[in-house]
Symmetry: C2
Subunit: 469 residues, 2 copies
């Protein structure tokens, strides 16, 4: 599928001017129309083309967001929420112009309740900022999508990452939200109890809504106790199937691994070159175990046994922080190592997720496809969830390469859908994957559209993302 031909029914110039005048009166110098600021805010870290907004508004409170949304609604101007701009499917592109609402100055940690293992933060707080703040509490926030994203943005994109196999995704770790609706109403989606059966689950509706249903300004999050003991292990396999079967059996045995990552042999080769390592150039699994000392040792032994039975060799493990870091070095630097395979290239990152029973098949067919192409791509997978990523290494000025990456990507997504999987396990829809949504969800997309139209009847909130209206 091609990227959408973007229609841009922008706000009428007079309406835009009136809106910007009103927002400027509210924010003063915190409203910017500088070209560099606009361009930086119109694109994310993906390959997708950027579309600069007409202005960037830096809000500092829920009430300011409310005022801006009321002005935008009055004048019919689109609003695109922005956290750190680290999304991967063009989520922040101002396809229809309008005001980018930058929430990075809403960076207050409002409450930490160690007894309840939860906290409330403003949307612009990043995950690293939160964990730094939590340092002396014995608690941590586990969701780690790689980038130091804002927690509002991670909520809006339903982020997950390496820890999801143990701790869940943002879906499981967001307890409640403060949201400003398209018409300026401020709502709280949930009280602070761990569970509730009181009404529709608005929290989960906004988690993953990518700024299209409302603007998230505060997030209450579940926290977790820092485990007494953390251990890591790495093991290589002659075949992808051996590695994936080890993963399946680990899950089936209920071994509560905290992280379980697969690197394919292309990625391992890249890491060897980049970090001057000498790992066997084979599919390789990286594990992390959280628990008591006895517990992590027991988990590691069980995994070692399963790996061995599946042909895994050279099982290495480490429990000290220093050794663990060294053991995981290849995984931590995977993205930069992949880019270094082809100096000057640009990475096109994509992801799919399938039922774990289909994972080996999906990966093998995808790699067979790649083998017949002249493009290079490296693979990393959060395999405990059935989720894997490819990074196509392309020259963005070479139209043929771009087209080829698009063709391979389309085939991979349709393959995942045919296996009852999803077009994106964690990167989200943005505008990069919007055309796959109907293939994946069929008539359910019409239901999503009804919800969008009910809550944002004038299509002003991040228009052109998730569902077209």
């Amino acid at each position: 599928m091609a990227h959408p031909a973007v229609a841009t029914p922008r706000a009428a110039p007079a309406a835009l001017t009136a809106a910007l005048t009103a927002v400027g009166a509210l924010l003063g110098p915190r409203l910017s129309t500088a070209t560099a600021v606009r361009e930086q805010h119109g694109r994310d870290e993906s390959y997708h083309a950027g579309f600069p907004p007409d202005a960037v508004a830096f809000a500092q409170s829920t009430e300011e967001v409310q005022a801006i949304l009321r002005i935008a609604a009055e004048h019919g101007v689109p609003v695109i929420p922005f956290g750190t701009g680290t999304s991967l499917e063009g989520h922040v592109a101002a396809l229809h112009g309008g005001i980018c609402l930058d929430l990075s100055q809403m960076n207050q940690i409002l409450r930490v309740s160690p007894e309840d293992l939860d906290c409330t933060v403003q949307a612009g707080v990043t995950r690293k900022q939160l964990n730094e703040h939590l340092r002396d509490t014995g608690l941590f926030f586990p969701i780690d999508p790689g980038a130091d994203a804002s927690l509002g943005g991670m909520t809006a994109t339903r982020a997950s990452g390496t820890n999801a196999v143990r701790y869940g995704t943002m879906r499981e770790n967001v307890l409640g939200l403060t949201v400003v609706m398209a018409d300026g109403r401020i709502i709280r989606t949930s009280r602070r109890s761990r569970k509730s059966a009181a009404g529709y689950d608005l929290t989960r509706l906004f988690v993953g809504s990518e700024g299209t249903l409302g603007v998230i300004t505060e997030v209450s999050l579940r926290l977790h106790g820092i485990p007494q003991s953390i251990a890591s292990a790495v093991v290589s396999f002659p075949t992808i199937a051996g590695a994936v079967n080890t993963v399946i059996e680990t899950i089936q045995c209920g071994i509560p691994v905290a992280r379980m990552e697969l690197l394919d042999e292309v990625q391992v080769d890249a890491c060897n070159r980049y970090s001057k390592l000498s790992m066997p150039v084979q599919p390789t699994l990286f594990f992390e175990f959280h628990g008591t000392e006895a517990g992590t040792a027991e988990q590691a032994q069980m995994v070692a046994d399963l790996a061995e039975a599946n042909g895994g060799g050279g099982f290495q493990w480490a429990s000290s922080a220093e050794e663990r870091t060294k053991l995981w070095e290849a995984r931590h630097k995977a993205y930069y190592a992949a880019l270094a395979l082809r100096p000057g290239c640009k990475g096109w990152a994509t992801d799919v997720c399938v039922p774990i029973s289909r994972l080996a098949e999906c990966i093998l067919e995808t790699k067979a496809d790649l083998a017949q192409s002249n493009l290079i791509a490296a693979m990393v997978g959060h395999v405990g969830d059935g989720n894997f990523h490819l990074v196509y290494l392309i020259d963005p000025d070479n139209a043929e390469e771009v087209a080829e990456a698009g063709r391979l990507n389309d085939r991979m997504v349709m393959r995942a859908l045919a296996m009852d999987g999803t077009c994106t396990g964690e990167h989200g829809v943005g505008y990069g994957k919007i055309d796959f949504l109907t293939a994946e969800h069929g008539d359910a997309v019409a239901v999503m559209r009804q919800i969008k139209q009910a809550l944002d009847p004038h299509n002003l909130l991040n228009p052109g993302k998730v569902v077209r209206v």
Copy 2:
């Protein structure tokens, strides 16, 4: 708050007759208008008054549900989905008449995928039926709300129960749904991958929607490996605070207890009388541990240490199935033991849920309230979640007692809300708690209403429940 004065704008008689004729032509003898059948389907296991539907339709397939909803939409007749009728807030009462859609004959287990630890069932399959079916797979479905409810009903009410502290609620264990919308469209809310970032989370929107947004006909569920070892423990405390602090510390230490239940001294006394036990008449915690043999022993030891530091005495534990059953006997028979405290009484069951840091306070204030009343009530709590239940033992023909239970219940709910908790942790809203929703959610109820109106514009799906339109 009083129960709602129920307005009953029923379907016009001619429209109802036309609808029943059409449904009868479809289902033959599987459409019943017998008084006994209607009355049985108009009430649940709660104290709330029943309202019989005009007819009961026993559907056997998603396509039949579709046909019935199309007929109902055409003639403007309400439809109330029905599983096993074990809800507790009047969820199945046909407040506006109409057709009760009984799904109990949709009882096929459609698929079990041990490799993926998931399955798909028709909505009428009960949790015990599923676990019986899974017996030889090494897997189980953990959510246990007490009653042998249907999985469709458990999904619709966002059920949880004793295992939620470890395995989550229906919110975390439903992977996807087949839903028939008010106009007869059939949608699937999700593919079968463990996670997805592709579009709005319709799955979670329907989980807990109590039949008001669509009729759930198939449910895909997450399964879990039966643990290698299961152990139980029981310990009594001189004070509620000691028990609750043990719970808080257990959660904070990240000890992965599978169950953690509190019985207050009234409930313990009831259990002693009913089951001829001789437990200390004190607040008592019941634990269950799942894991490896070493793991469960380690968990039990850690909990024993915490309990002792909080004044807990007589820590007992058991790992054989027989001993475990005996140890937990009081908990298993708690409800019947409570009813036996006052022969001939009726139980009015209610629940609230608060942040765990407020749990002791909420329980103590609630018990102080009870102490000043002439009513007896027993308390059982899923305390790891901050969730507890009261059963008021009342004579339903005594208006004063009913009013007093209502007054106490209102005070308990408002107390939980003042502590940033919820009016119901797991029983749901039905019509019994509908008046508390605005107190809990404020303007968010208006957003819920917008969603209800978008998806069920003629208010035909279980009208009068969750939100009034």
